[in-house]
């Protein structure tokens, strides 16, 4: 069980302190699949980084199974059972997929075991197991390998930061199954996913909507999901890497509501 208590996270911008996370508290109970959604820039990824220990909160406490881990390092938290899949996974020259899976598993897993993790994320294992985790891999391939490393760890809490980002719609359909399977075999563990994907939200036990560094709403899927459909917090199509759905700029209109031609617009707007 993971508990966040009154978490604040401020950053300095110039001389001004900006509150990225402004007093957030929630609990991820065991055996639960929780999805955090909300508009971009609302602080979701920061929450994931705070949980993994990459960022330290300005105030508040984080507890894992009752133990205060606020001051624990990334390594300590990983060893205590927190896994974290990055939104934009990292590339390594010379390190093979197999090496990475072995590091993730923390032991010398056999090639066939390692292959199973890859198969589960929809990669043809024999084509990838000895590939380097370098620039020759596409963004989508890298995301799948990132997810496979979390599967290989098999820890009690798995945090995924926008697993859909950077993956095309067709591939993501298969990836949904990975999360559905994780949902089904959640025994004694819990999963926190940051996602805008309707399909992911549909398999959530609980949904937390984060906006402006605060929890806007939270509750069971049935309570929350209907109100999200049609908003950017629950999109039915995939979004590009970075998580920004395509946005159509508003058409400029005059006082009577008629569209204004571009060449008539005042400074800077054109």
């Amino acid at each position: 069980m993971l508990e966040l208590k009154n978490i604040r996270f401020d950053v300095l911008e110039g001389h001004e302190e900006i509150g990225i996370i402004r007093d957030v508290s929630f609990t991820i109970p065991d055996n639960k699949f929780v999805v955090v959604t909300g508009p971009n820039g609302g602080g979701k990824s920061t929450l994931a980084r705070l949980i993994a220990g990459i960022e330290k909160p300005t105030a508040g406490n984080i507890l894992l199974d009752g133990e205060d881990i606020t001051d624990k390092s990334i390594t300590d938290r990983a060893r205590m059972g927190i896994s974290y899949a990055m939104q934009q996974p990292v590339r390594f020259k010379g390190i093979q997929v197999l090496d990475l899976l072995r590091l993730a598993a923390g032991k010398r897993v056999s090639v066939s075991d390692a292959c199973q993790y890859l198969s589960r994320v929809g990669l043809c294992a024999k084509d990838y197991i000895h590939r380097e985790v370098n620039a020759s891999l596409s963004g989508g391939e890298l995301k799948r390998i990132e997810i496979a490393t979390v599967l290989a760890r098999g820890t009690k809490l798995s945090v995924f930061d926008e697993p859909e980002a950077g993956i095309d719609l067709w591939s993501f359909q298969n990836l949904i199954q990975v999360f559905e399977q994780m949902r089904d075999s959640i025994k004694d563990s819990s999963i926190l996913i940051i996602s805008h994907q309707e399909r992911i939200l549909e398999i959530a036990d609980e949904i937390i909507v984060v906006a402006d560094g605060m929890i806007e709403r939270q509750g069971s899927r049935d309570e929350i999901l209907p109100s999200l459909i049609g908003t950017t917090s629950a999109v039915g199509v995939c979004v590009p890497l970075g998580g920004k759905p395509a946005q159509v700029p508003p058409i400029p209109v005059d006082q009577n509501g008629n569209p204004v031609p571009k060449n008539k617009l005042q400074g800077g707007e054109a």
Partner: protein, 310 residues
Amino acid sequence: MEFKKLDEIQKRILMEVADLHTVPEGAFNIRSDGQLAGRASSANIEIVSKEDGSGIDIHIKPGTKNESVHIPVVLSKSGLHDVVYNDFYVGEDCDVIIVAGCGISNCGGMDSEHDGIHRFYVGKNAKVRYVEKHYGEGDGTGKRILNPVTEVYMEEGSHVEMEMVQIKGVDSTDRSTVAKVAAGASLIVKERLMTHGEQTAASGYYVDLNGDGSSADIVSRSVARDKSYQKLDLRINGNAACSGHTECDSIIMDEGRILAVPQLEANCTDSALIHEAAIGKIAGDQLIKLMTLGLTEKEAEEQIVNGFLK
């Protein structure tokens, strides 16, 4: 059969530089502290001492396939300055592996130095894989110095692949590799270099692509740790319709410093030459990723460096 004339230190060094536990199969020449410690020729590969005693000539008969030559050098005495000329004559249509390498164990107070000058005359359509490892150890104040010179003369259609590795323990090195590549011939070099402590390393490549259809791919990956310094000088001259690529990819750590000097000279409008050079510290995200897998920062660093130099 075990090596008779070598002591434990020498045997260990031999393992480091040539992965040799026992006498190798095929032709070999082992040089220890400036003396011959063992030699064998094979039916197709003949090793003979130069008349003036300055080194050895290795003659590989045309058409020799799937054979190997090992010529490791071991230095375990302090204050020894060993210079040796090794000339390889590789016949046409050969397909051979040549394993060289030098290890120095210097526990004394005086500098030990080995300068190996290797010249390769590679016949038409021959294929050579050359592996060279350099290694140093010992806690004496004397420096361990290696200044190898490699010259490669490649005839039409030949192919040479060189792996040059120097990962540990050499205080000072100034390596120079010169290649002249004829039509249709290709040269591939993979260099791996790591320096630490106060070490300095200079590595220069000077490749002439002289014939149409010739090519060279020189890739150097290096890591400079502690207060070490490296200078990497990669030059390709395109003198014909050829293609050349150099890549200098370096990680700096601690107070390490690196100067990369990629140079291309196109002397023919049909030469296609590319260079890439990048120097930087280990990316923070790489460390973070491995730490989220449960590694400490130090362990993460080791994994990243090991992978990079693999």
